[in-house]
């Protein structure tokens, strides 16, 4: 069968099982948009390419399947770079297709030419510049393979316009042939044995579980392990939901704005079982004083993560789900000969910290709305399987701290890159992936202004997401740092509560808009929003501008110097 490159591309995406593309057309990708008309593939027309990228990410976060974005050359390709970098940091599988100027024009500074593969080299797992239409099915197959296997990540396929118009003979490859790419899935049995031995000996273990558990679908194994060895569990920002917050072994999040208990337990642990995590600086604080007494077992599918930041006593390269299954078997085996150490004192200590230093804020407040209260009320008044998406800033920390996460793929956020503007488009992608679940974006007023126009996309495509703006009239997180570390010298952080008018703006974009100015209205308006299913809803919650996120480990400080809510006294350890 003879096809054009463009037809072959669409047919390849279909063969790959793609159901939706987030994109926006333009000159160099025009040939591909023509056969799209005749394809069953759903296309969602975005208002900005960054939105397409974050939508693809949100879709991947929730479904575990790669999100697909398609944009034209030059400015469109550069517009999507932020989303690629975001997906790269957070190991989100994503395939981005970009148009490129004709092969013969490459290198001539042609209209809308940008060196897309060059620009995106450092923010993709791999990228391809297609030079012949005959290669398209093979490259698409390879692209999806690379994006979804090993450590997942974004990939990009750049297709010159004339290649899209070239004729090719259709085929669909059975397998990929990539001699330089063979991810290790099974952990080394000897290492797994060693890990089991350390685990049985540990008196004060902590499981430090991250996004890798979610990507690997290993939540069940994680729960089995934690219960088997009675180990408390800290879940990172990317791993929230991989272990139920309501479980008695759950300690919440570690790191800069983690719970006192998670942060302190790691500092005092004698064994750190690190699963699908990368010892990010926001978790470790000052690395030289991080978990100083702990031996480390580190399981990750990416060998380069083992020893990158912290030397592990037992490094295990492999899929964390597979490794955990083997590890659990090994522990059970070993237990026949050797008892586990007694952990009752450790668990009592953990309980004690939890009672003394819970997450807290001023709950007596009746005049101003505390942002934490909005999150708590939302969490309590939405279905169990609600998907929560956030932007970046204080509201993100309040969302991750105060929402009770009990399942994986329920929390969608920009962890590694910290991309303001992530929430709205990512929520749209999440809702497309799981239309039956309620999707709430918890956004900041600053973040909302970066990508709000995608609500037009949501309205026109009938994607009824819900948005809670925690409108504190400030770039709150930056304000907090200026208050705490720059002697309250506020520099360029004030935004105004009512410029723009978020309700009018929401309405102009085809959404329902609400404004909430007092605490007693919070639950009522959330109920109203929950009842709306035919279009997006935006609630402008006017929250306390002066609220700060606690606990906090100041940047660069040791986790031992954790600062707790002022009502809880000095903190520290």
């Amino acid at each position: 069968m003879e096809l054009t490159g463009a037809q072959a591309l669409i047919k390849s995406l279909e063969a790959q099982g793609v159901e939706v593309i987030f994109g926006i057309p333009g000159g160099a990708i025009l040939p591909v948009y023509d056969p799209l008309i005749d394809s069953p593939l759903r296309h969602i027309l975005v208002r900005h390419e960054q939105g397409a990228g974050h939508m693809a990410e949100g879709y991947a976060h929730v479904s575990g399947r790669p999100g697909v974005a398609m944009v034209t050359s030059g400015p469109a390709a550069t517009n999507i770079v932020t989303a690629l970098a975001d997906a790269y940091m957070d190991s989100i599988p994503m395939v981005c297709i970009t148009g490129q100027v004709a092969l013969g024009s490459i290198g001539t500074d042609a209209f809308q030419e940008a060196d897309t593969t060059g620009i995106t080299m450092s923010v993709t797992k791999h990228n391809w510049l297609v030079t012949s239409a005959q290669d398209i099915p093979r490259i698409i197959k390879e692209a999806f393979h690379v994006a979804t296997t090993g450590r997942p990540g974004p990939v990009l396929v750049d297709i010159p316009k004339d290649v899209s118009n070239q004729l090719m003979q259709w085929y669909w490859p059975d397998e990929v042939d990539m001699p330089g790419y063979k991810p290790t899935v099974k952990g080394h049995p000897k290492m797994i044995k060693q890990a089991a031995k350390l685990i049985l000996e540990a008196k004060k273990p902590v499981i430090y579980a991250g996004g890798g558990i979610i990507r690997a679908g290993a939540s069940d194994q994680l729960k089995t392990l934690a219960e088997l060895i009675s180990s408390p569990v800290a879940t990172t920002l990317m791993g929230r939901g991989c272990f139920p917050d309501e479980h008695e072994l759950a300690m919440g999040m570690p790191g800069m704005h983690g719970t006192y208990t998670a942060v302190t337990a790691i500092q005092k642990a004698d064994l750190l079982i690190a699963l699908g995590v990368r010892f990010d600086d926001r978790v470790t604080g000052k690395i030289s004083s991080f978990a100083p007494n702990a031996k480390v077992i580190h399981v990750d599918i990416d060998p380069a993560e083992l020893g990158k930041v912290r030397h592990p006593e037992v490094p295990i390269v492999g899929d964390v789900g597979y490794v955990l299954t083997e590890l659990i078997k090994e522990i059970k085996n070993l237990e026949k000969k050797q008892d586990q150490s007694d952990k009752s004192a450790w668990l009592k200590q953990i309980k004690d910290w939890q009672i003394r230093f819970p997450l807290t804020y001023d709950k007596e407040q009746t005049k101003v709305i505390k942002p934490q209260f909005v999150v708590e009320t939302l969490s309590a008044n939405t279905p169990e399987d609600t998907i929560v998406v956030s932007g970046v800033g204080q509201h993100q920390m309040f969302a991750t701290q105060y929402w009770k996460f009990n399942r994986p793929n329920q929390w969608v956020n920009s962890g590694g890159l910290g991309t303001m503007g992530f929430a709205i488009p990512a929520a749209i992608g999440a809702k497309v992936a799981n239309p039956s679940a309620m999707v709430w974006a918890i956004d900041g007023d600053g973040c909302f202004q970066m990508t709000a126009q995608e609500l037009v996309t949501a309205s026109s495509e009938k994607i009824p997401i819900k948005v809670a703006i925690l409108n504190n009239a400030y770039l709150g997180m930056v304000r907090q740092w200026q208050e705490m570390f720059y002697e309250e010298r506020y520099s360029e952080v004030y935004l105004s509560p009512d410029l723009p008018d978020y309700v009018k703006w929401a309405e102009a974009m085809g959404c329902v808009g609400f404004r909430v100015e007092s605490p007693d209205e919070v639950a009522i308006v959330i109920e109203k929003a929950n009842a709306i299913n035919d279009r997006p809803v935006v609630i402008d919650f006017r929250t306390d501008s002066s609220e700060k996120v606690y606990p906090m480990v100041p940047s660069g400080a040791s986790n031992d110097d954790i600062v707790v809510d002022p009502s809880q006294g000095q903190g520290g350890m």
Binding site: G118, M121, S122, K125, T149, G150, G180, K182, P183, K308
Partner: protein
């Protein structure tokens, strides 16, 4: 010249457009230092061989090889130990050689087993292909005469035959 701690990596890569830029980009982005780099085709035209001499003061060798291995087009990395590998480098140098110095430069080149490859009125271009340390010595001894221009290739290396299998540390195909 300042002494760095150098390691030689022999990297087999797929012969695809942009491979070199991926490698160079990776080194730049992760703050690794390349001391020298040489690229050449192999007998199989699908692959090229890159010899990279890395400065392991900038990052541990393990991190460098692991990150390199994450590049999809990198197929195999071998660390070559100088004791058990043949390492060669070529130097071309244009030397100030007026009549009175000419004879002693020619003598030096002959002693090293190098070659005079170009002769001018008051300059000589000399060449030597030898181990990197010999090339260093050669360059240092030429220095006093006045080096006008110098070009070195960076080293290429292969494991030695008899003892190669035992000492050649091969880090093969495991990456995501």
């Amino acid at each position: 010249m300042k002494q760095y701690k150098h390691h030689t990596l022999s990297v087999l890569v797929e012969n695809k457009a942009g491979v070199l830029s991926r490698i160079a980009g990776l080194f730049a982005r992760r703050g690794f230092n390349i001391y020298s780099l040489a690229v050449a085709p192999t007998d199989d035209q699908k692959f090229s061989q890159i010899t990279i001499v890395v400065d392991v003061q900038s990052a541990p060798l393990e991190q460098i090889t692991k990150q390199l291995f994450k590049l999809i087009n990198v197929v195999k990395i071998s660390e070559l130990d100088p004791a058990t590998s043949c390492e060669y480098e070529l130097i071309l140098a244009k030397i100030n050689a007026p009549g009175n110095n000419r004879a002693s430069i020619i003598e030096l080149v002959q002693l090293f087993g190098g070659k005079i490859v170009d002769i001018g009125i008051s300059q000589l271009t000399v060449m030597l292909a030898d181990s990197p340390t010999k090339v260093d010595d050669f360059e240092a001894l030429l220095e006093p005469y006045g080096i006008i221009e110098v070009q070195r290739t960076g080293r290429v290396a292969l494991a030695k035959q008899e003892t190669s299998s035992a000492k050649l540390r091969s880090i093969s195909g495991k990456v995501s």
